[in-house]
């Protein structure tokens, strides 16, 4: 699972080029995006999954933590998906309503994905833009630091952090987000370097606008396309990382859950006649990842069309 860095670079170059020519790449992008069937399918999936996360809870007949004593202890016989007793997706091994739990797991997983990606993108953009704009020795030091950080086995560090600080949402967000900002910072720096000697930046500098304002006002907006595509493609990576952490038992605390936790519970019991416990969370997990990939790829192709 990875983001194709060379394509991101090509996209970034295109934005710089567009800035020079004075023609926005956004102009035709919308039309191209709407015409891309895979991307539109992805977008539809994402909208539906988000709706499910937000209002799916309204339709649940059980809360995500109630034990259904009539099912408990005979889940394989009584806990299968059923409209009659209100367990649309069946129950988990304790007789808790799987529908409510999948809704709630969807919320957590989407949140981890989006917040994690946001942290990565924000840190990466600001870091890269600062390094590129300030330049000189600062740039040297900042980028050497990125080189060093690139060589650290991140999953190990994340496991250490979670062991050290215990299981908490904020640590999960931060830890997962901090894994992925390095590539982003490199692309942004490169782009900033090519932007910073343009007339409009020079003009701003001449009128005494502060460096920070220039970065925020003039450099970052020009990076928006790259950032948007990158963020869309990062979200599924974050969701995958979270599922791995949950598998190791270092994820969110009960009674909260996430796709990763639900899938890993369901995978454990797949041979015991309770396959729905795996199927439902896995379904949502898989279609959402598809959705993000399709939309991310579609967005990139729309913004950076290649003649084929």
């Amino acid at each position: 699972m990875v983001i194709d860095q060379s394509k991101m670079q090509s996209l970034a170059d295109r934005f710089v080029e567009a800035e020079v020519k004075g023609r926005s790449p956004w102009a035709d992008a919308r039309r191209r995006f709407l015409r891309n069937r895979a991307a539109m399918l992805g977008l539809t999936i994402l909208v539906l999954v988000s709706l499910f996360a937000v209002i799916g809870g309204q339709f649940a007949q059980w809360s995500n933590e109630e034990l259904d004593f009539s099912v408990m202890g005979q889940v394989a016989q009584m806990g299968q998906p059923s409209l009659e007793n209100g367990h649309y997706f069946g129950t988990d091994n304790l007789g808790r309503d799987l529908y409510a739990r999948v809704v709630q797991g969807t919320q957590i997983s989407l949140m981890v994905g989006i917040v994690g990606a946001a942290i990565a993108v924000i840190v990466g953009t600001l870091y890269g833009a600062t390094a590129g704009y300030v330049g000189g020795r600062t740039d040297q030091i900042m980028m050497r630091t990125v080189d060093i950080l690139m060589s650290i086995p991140y999953m190990f560090v994340l496991i250490l952090l979670l062991v050290m600080f215990g299981r908490s949402m904020s640590m999960l967000f931060l830890g997962i987000g901090l894994i992925s900002w390095l590539d982003m910072s490199r692309i942004v720096r490169g782009q900033t370097l090519s932007l910073k000697n343009r007339e409009f930046i020079e003009a701003a500098r001449a009128t005494g606008v502060s460096s920070f304002r220039i970065i925020i006002r003039h450099i970052v907006p020009n990076l928006l396309g790259v950032v948007a595509v990158y963020a869309t493609l990062l979200v599924p990576l974050m969701i995958l990382t979270e599922s791995f952490i949950s598998f190791l038992g270092l994820g969110v605390q009960e009674p909260l859950t996430s796709w990763g936790a639900l899938i890993s519970e369901g995978a454990g019991t797949m041979n015991y006649g309770t396959l729905w416990q795996l199927a439902f969370p896995l379904f949502f997990f898989v279609i959402t990842l598809f959705g993000f990939f399709f939309v991310g790829d579609g967005l990139r192709d729309a913004l950076d069309p290649k003649e084929r």
Partner: protein, 307 residues
């Protein structure tokens, strides 16, 4: 090129130091120690244990002593949790295993992934292409902690073809499931990248020129398209390698292969400082080495890049 390698190696040393110090401090700040068991130890016993492992010294001195022993004697010390073994022995046991199934998975992912990607690109928009894209998309998102128990169920219980776990260097039947479980999703990613980059290269001007000159299609692809199309794949190999090592914990848990992935997670959870540090340093060093190899490879293929 030589200067470039030297410069990268020079960066490697501070990187490793940083990693050692960071992990060391983080580990020692974490609640619980390697000797917190169910029963509180008598103070004298605890004092002896701590003296034996040098845990009474100030943190900076512990780090210093550790660095000296690692750098000068290449000795990672005794394990805290497995008192019969030293960390060197534990790594010598587990690492060849991880390297074997990790290396095979890596090869499988690259060879199958690239082939699949190239085939899909050549027969663009045919059923072969759709099939390849479908496989790679599906395989990419199936977590290996779902795939691993599924493989055991199918190949061990239902068909009785393969042993459900364990490890032997002499018997490849033990390698099959670990390699499938570890390589599939990377194979899929590589196929996706190869396909799109191949498509781009095939549409480029110099390929058109080559075709216009009447060169046979297979020569066009092998001589002219493959090499440039590999660039994005190569830059992806570094991250693949690293995530394979980290992902090996899933393999070790489900297939009881005894590799270092499980050793790392266990050591972090049990506060086995010595093993945790040993594995972290090893994986850190490998990561650096592998990124370097990838960069050199990249420069070799793409003459435009100058270091």
């Amino acid at each position: 090129m030589f200067a470039f390698i030297l410069r990268r190696l020079a960066v490697a040393i501070p990187t490793l130091l940083l990693l050692i110090v960071f992990s060391f401090v983080l580990m020692h700040l974490a609640p619980g120690g390697p000797f917190t068991g169910e029963r509180a130890l008598p103070p004298q016993v605890l004092a002896n244990l701590e003296a034996q492992y040098g845990l009474n010294d100030p943190l900076w001195l512990q780090i210093w002593n550790y660095l000296v022993s690692v750098v000068i004697h290449f000795d990672f010390g005794p394990s805290f949790v497995y008192p019969d073994r030293t960390v060197n022995q534990l790594i010598a046991n587990g690492f060849p295993v991880t390297l074997t199934y990790g290396g095979l998975s890596f090869l499988a992912a690259v060879i199958l992934g690239v082939s699949l990607g190239v085939v899909a690109a050549i027969w663009h928009n045919s059923w072969v292409d759709y099939l390849a894209v479908g496989i790679s998309i599906g395989a990419q998102v199936l977590p290996n902690f779902v795939m691993a128990p599924l493989l055991v169920l199918v190949f061990t219980l239902w068909y009785r073809w393969l042993p459900g776990g364990g490890w032997s260097f002499n018997d490849p039947s033990f390698w099959v499931m670990p390699v499938i479980a570890l390589s599939t999703s990377y194979m899929a990613s590589i196929a996706r990248i190869t396909r799109s980059s191949m498509l781009e290269v095939l549409g480029s001007n110099h390929i058109r020129t080559a075709r216009a000159k009447g060169m046979p299609e297979h020569r066009v692809i092998i001589r002219h398209a493959l090499k440039p199309a590999m660039l994005p794949v190569i830059s992806y190999l570094g991250p693949v390698f690293v995530s394979m090592i980290t992902g090996s914990v899933v393999i070790d848990i489900y297939f009881s292969t005894g590799g270092i992935g499980k050793a790392f997670v266990d050591s972090a959870l049990n506060r086995d400082y010595a093993v945790m540090m040993g594995v972290t340093i090893l994986v850190g060093a490998l990561t650096i080495l592998f990124n370097l190899i990838v960069d050199v490879l990249y420069a070799w293929i793409d003459p435009k890049i100058r270091y």
